[in-house]
Subunit: 343 residues, 2 copies
DNA sequence: CGGTGTTCCGTAAACGTTTACGGATGATGC
DNA sequence: GCATCATCCGTAAACGTTTACGGAACACCG
């Protein structure tokens, strides 16, 4: 069902039908109603290729979504929830969200180039930003509207939104300090992960501000799977002066920490305080309930959608758009009770 | 950078450039090389709108992905891993995978109509198929190429792939029977979930085949969140003759089951056997390790990709394509040891 | 009644590709 | 040397839409 067929059916010209359906100026109310009614009745929907060929834009925003390549592993459900809010916000503005999955074992720059070439969207959303990210450079160089979820090492000259890891760490550490802990261990991923250096820096600052000496033996940087975190915990406990609290910047890491503590006959939350970073389903299954942080993913998606719409509206005027930090919320569990006996 | 610009740059006609880049017949090797080299050098990528307007097809497959609408909840990471295999398979055939998220609180039929109208893909992949699914009917009626991941109550006349729940249940029940259990409880979601009736039916058959009487008080049908599963477990344990084994058709349900057992001083895997359905991260965090089932998600994605390519190739000849059942694999843990004392 | 607007609609030219068709060129066979 | 043929390339018509432009019809005002 073309626009031509619709026009013939209505004894109107193609142009009039198009105007009636789109801009709605220069067309009488009577015919507009007639056209809209007939379009609905005949099931006419404008061909997207023709439309976006003629106009310069597609009415869609593309989200480059990293997915796992391995067979057994699950992906990060974080993004899935984010997509709900993002899609809702874009939908309200008449935009469509399309997601382009890219596997971790793919050349992501090449993938982005191909996707850009398809010209499938008016704006682009990048995730899992690296400290030095060629995709950000590519999009900046081509002056294409995009938003980065995450930030590079030099986060200026492009719009980004990132989680406020600084707030996360300082909240966790000051909470533990407030509970009387003085030896607080830190488990955080390798420095190739963008936020890890922020984590370490903020951790050091927070201790310093409180006048608590920082012991490098209490900092573990590396693989943050459950087993690696268990090993790290055992390493902490082997020290002459073991920590009384452990902050774990990892999704499934707290599971390993709990296991290692129990392996030594220690009870999380009673003998050693534990605070995790995110309320993943696996961490919510722990007993005693893990004190950790959550993110308003829906709101986060909506904020990203809003930024994307801004960026696509202000085409070619990317100035003055600052980066945004998105807060974590503390979810109090029972794993970080103060352990006064150790102070 | 148009094809016109490229042609002018090469002193060739537009048609020749197009042929050189596409079909590659009727063009000499020398010029073809020259064109390809120049296209790469000038960064030319054919405009997708123009291309798919002229040809009837887009070279893409669309995956209608259900995402959560609530703010706190995470989505199902199941699909994320599936997308990796799907994308790889399609990529190898020169197809692109685009994902269209649809929120659970949206009118999914209306959303599908809009998406179809955009004509953005050559084939469609549906997920979370309902027992009576209007989307399947819509796509069938319009003769559009699609594949259903899941199946309706009457799974014929369209290509589908579904998980083999029957195999899952019969494997679990016969395993428990083989371990000597005679009173096996079942926790399964409400009958609005498509596979739940299959689960119950197969459970009954398996018991009947083994000559074990089926006690309806050992079947719980309803909400399968952790707390609901804990309540169901407590209900089982309140019986005069409580079960010695529990099969939980739920993702996070085993967490609640473990908690309820421990609340009564019972040790999972020692006092009561527990088998779960899926190896979600939350279940893998349990101690003792949960015996459950896993799915080769990558292979599943590739199988879906293969079916999609078949469907898009055999346009208008949808006959003879049977449904496919995808197997579960048992992952032995330590939660289903035989409890001979109770037999 | 002429002039000036306003309202509504048709005309046609784009947007960037692909592809059927034909023509030019050169090679080959007789 | 002429006919035949293969090889390569240019021409132009589509694909379905949007939109600038102009024109027809009509109202209004002096």
């Amino acid at each position: 069902m073309n626009i031509r067929g619709l026009a013939q059916h209505l004894n109107l010209s193609i142009g009039t039908v198009s105007r009636a359906l789109n801009d709605a100026s220069d067309v009488s109310d009577a015919t507009r109603r007639r056209v809209i009614e007939a379009a609905a009745r005949l099931g006419y929907t404008p061909n997207q290729s023709g439309r976006s060929l003629r106009r310069g834009r597609t009415g869609a925003v593309a989200f480059i979504l990293p997915v796992t390549a391995e067979s057994g592993a699950y992906g990060d459900p974080f993004f899935l929830s984010l997509m709900g809010g993002l899609q809702r916000h874009l939908e309200q503005a008449g935009y469509e969200l399309i997601v382009l999955p890219v596997r971790h074992d793919q050349d992501e720059l090449e993938h982005l180039r191909r996707s850009l070439g398809r010209g499938i969207a008016d704006a682009w959303l990048l995730a899992e930003i690296k400290r030095h990210d060629e995709r950000v450079e590519l999009l900046s160089a081509r002056q294409l509207p995009f938003v980065a979820f995450g930030r590079t090492g030099n986060p200026s000259g492009y719009p980004w939104l990132d989680l406020d890891f600084q707030q996360l760490i300082s909240t966790a550490v000051s909470r533990l300090l407030g509970q009387g802990h003085r030896r607080i261990a830190l488990i955080t991923p390798g420095l190739d992960v963008n936020f890890s250096s922020i984590v370490i820096g903020t951790y050091r600052e927070a201790l310093e501000d409180a006048g608590v000496p920082c012991d490098d033996r209490l900092i573990y940087v590396g693989d943050i799977g459950p087993t690696a975190c268990a090993a790290a915990t055992n390493g902490f406990l082997d020290l002459n002066d073991p920590p009384s609290a452990i902050f774990v910047m990892s999704e499934n890491g707290p599971i390993g920490v709990y296991a290692a503590l129990r392996g030594r006959g220690l009870q999380p939350g009673t003998d050693v305080a534990v605070i995790g970073s995110r309320n993943t389903p696996s961490c919510m299954a722990l007993d005693p309930p893990l004190t950790c942080f959550s993110v308003d993913l829906h709101g986060l998606g909506e904020a990203l959608g809003s930024m994307l719409l801004d960026v696509v509206a202000a085409d070619g005027a990317p100035e003055g758009r600052p980066g945004l930090l998105w807060p974590f919320r503390l979810r109090q569990g029972a794993s970080d009770l103060p352990d006064d006996s150790k102070c």
